[in-house]
């Protein structure tokens, strides 16, 4: 029996000739990523060593990445103190893949990892963030874990007692219509699978539409795979993966890709044709409450957000700028834009997108997670509604349990900013 991509990756990382679904393996970790919650990982890590007679020592500082993004710059003394503690730990342990609050090399962890070439096809990546699924876009097996599990990985260099997950094959065909793209595809898929439809399983993406998709789009679909419960999403590495890593991340070493065997076993195959797909909207308060835009257009929104690890990349900002250029955000609506990294911010400045957005009335904020998880900027008032390109709309997600969040693509967000109501970009002049 052949193996899926994730089975091959786990077999290699565990030093086994082959693995099958349900096997318990202990893969070596190629990259271990944390953000501000490294403050908790550090506590747990130090506790592991208590009473051992050994000094706390990470297994390999070159394989640990720490990126400040959730609350940058710090919103409170508590966060600032956590960040200070992490900086001290980073320095003491020689951790080099560290991205502090800076305008030259900062950003959201799920953009920094690809952008700096930290993730490669075939890697086992763990991250103390559920959207660590993002890095499947580069052909890695990448999944979210808790802080204590990260402390264990820092100590041992392996992910302990991992059950080989089953894989769902997702085959996507067709060309996206104008103003429809990867975000609509993944929202549609989550709506079909439901929020738990892929629990404990991997989504492996195939088909002509995926092959033609940019790495940016692939990150968006792998990012939100977790919203269907998936352990990870993965796009097997291909020419686009190699192109991205060479041209955009500056990788010079060989980049071997891992592909699935022709006779690999899947628990389910899902086929999607995007040729007639409409813009999709996830309605409050669940990500799988997905409707085509026709059913929700006209709903009033007070805040538009473009950004996050899902949709804060250069092509997302380009889509928004193309719609807003020379026009104005509606009165009574505020629009917040968060480029996913400072590199993307600089590129968007060079290309004029930032000025397009500002002149239209958008507020362009610093790179980071921004309002996505309701801890920092852009909180909603009682009874207010946001339309956002982020990845979650759980009750209270944007900081206020008395508000609502709809999720959409950058094109829908931009078109709606002009009207103040959810607006179909396909029908707008």
């Amino acid at each position: 029996m052949g193996m899926t991509v994730v089975e091959k990756i786990l077999a290699r990382a565990a030093g086994l000739p082959s693995v099958k679904v349900g096997d318990v393996v202990e893969p070596k970790v190629d990259l271990a990523m944390s953000h501000e919650n490294a403050a908790l990982v550090i506590n747990q890590f130090q506790e592991v060593f208590e009473g051992t007679g050994q000094a706390p020592k990470v297994w390999d500082p070159s394989r640990i990445a720490i990126i400040f993004d959730h609350r940058v710059p710090a919103e409170s003394p508590k966060t600032a103190t956590n960040q200070k503690k992490i900086r001290e730990f980073v320095a003491a342990n020689g951790i080099t893949k560290f991205h502090d609050i800076r305008g030259d090399r900062g950003g959201i962890c799920h953009q920094i990892l690809p952008e700096y070439g930290y993730v490669r096809p075939g890697f086992v990546v763990v991250g103390t963030d559920s959207h660590t699924t993002s890095h499947g876009a580069l052909g890695a097996f990448s999944f979210g874990i808790g802080a204590t599990e990260m402390a264990s990985a820092w100590s041992l260099g392996i992910a302990v007692n991992i059950e080989v997950p089953a894989t769902i094959k997702v085959v996507v065909k067709g060309t996206f219509p104008p103003f429809v793209g990867p975000k609509d595809l993944i929202l549609h898929l989550i709506g079909r699978l439901t929020a738990q439809g892929a629990n404990y399983q991997v989504l492996e993406f195939h088909g002509e539409t995926i092959r033609k998709m940019s790495t940016s789009g692939r990150i968006a679909i792998c990012n939100m795979s977790v919203e269907a419960g998936a352990t990870s999403g993965i796009v097997p590495g291909d020419e686009e993966t190699v192109r991205y890593l060479r041209e955009e991340a500056g990788v010079t070493e060989a980049i071997p890709c891992v592909t699935a065997d022709a006779d690999a076993a899947y628990v389910q195959t899902v086929e999607i044709d995007v040729s007639a797909l409409a813009p999709q909207i996830a309605c409050p308060h669940m990500v799988d409450n997905v409707k085509p835009i026709e059913q929700v257009q006209g709903a009033k929104v007070q805040q538009i957000v473009i950004g996050s690890c899902t949709n804060g990349r250069l092509d997302d900002l380009a889509d928004a700028a193309a719609i807003l250029r020379g026009k104005k955000v509606a009165e009574g609506t505020r629009m917040l834009v968060f480029p996913a990294s400072t590199r993307i911010f600089a590129q968007a400045l060079d290309k004029g997108y930032v000025l397009d957005l500002m002149k239209a009335g958008a507020v362009v904020m610093n790179s980071g997670c921004g309002p996505c998880l309701g801890v920092h900027e852009g909180a909603l008032g009682d009874g207010e509604t946001a339309l956002s390109t982020t990845n979650r709309n759980f009750k209270g997600r944007m900081g206020n349990p008395k508000s609502e969040v709809y999720l959409c693509s950058p094109s829908v967000a931009a078109a709606s900013a002009l009207t103040g109501v959810i607006t179909d970009p396909r029908t707008q002049n």
Binding site: V24, E36, N37, A39, L40, N43, Q44, E47, V48, F49, E50, G51, T52, Q54, H70, R71, S76, K78, T79, N82, T128, D129, S130, T132, G144, I145, G146, A147, T148, E149, A151, S152, S155, L156, V160, N161, I162, E163, A195, Q196, N199, Y200, G229, T231, M286, D288, L373, G374, V375, R392, F394, K395, G396, R397, G399, P401
Partner: protein, 163 residues
């Protein structure tokens, strides 16, 4: 036997259990104050220590979905409550085992607030309704961690064995 103190539907997210705006708080001694913070009455009753250890929160399917934040487990562990749910989201289940939060997977469970449940090794009996439900055992792969009393002592043991 223990009482159900809260009965919830499907897809209860970690944002519900522990809202994102309290994520800068990480210490297990400090996280319990924010448990189900936006369910104001329930949060107040937890903080007033109205419920004895072992009291039960019943969940539907996919309990603990969303963020990987471990605070969602430490906040409940602080009250020594147990979670009985139809199914658990992956990271929440792993975090619960890692931290020693009592979780029971019981696909058919139906129980209202105030019901009395008896949890055995492989069943859950709702004494109020008289109905008996099967459990799905926690993953055998993680038994070593459970036996060690959590992932920290387990990892410590592995480190000592390596040295």
């Amino acid at each position: 036997m223990a009482k159900v103190i809260l009965s919830l539907g499907n897809d209860i997210s970690t944002d519900d259990i522990y809202p994102g705006r309290f994520m800068a708080t990480v210490l297990p001694t400090e996280t319990p104050q924010f448990a189900f913070f936006d369910r104001t009455d329930f949060n107040a009753r937890l903080k007033a220590r109205e419920f004895p250890a072992g009291a039960i929160i019943v969940g539907g399917e996919n309990f603990g979905c969303g963020s990987s934040r471990e605070q969602a487990c430490s906040t409940l562990k602080g009250y020594e409550v147990a979670v009985v749910a139809r199914s658990l989201a992956r990271i929440f289940l792993q975090n619960s085992i890692n931290l020693g939060l009592k979780v029971v997977i019981c696909p058919g469970i139906e129980a209202a607030e105030g019901d009395e449940l008896e949890i055995t090794a492989d069943k859950v009996l709702n004494r109020t309704s008289g109905k008996l439900y099967d459990q799905v055992q926690l993953p055998a792969a993680r038994k070593g961690i459970m036996d060690a009393g959590g992932l920290i002592p387990y990892t410590r043991g592995r480190l000592m064995a390596k040295a």
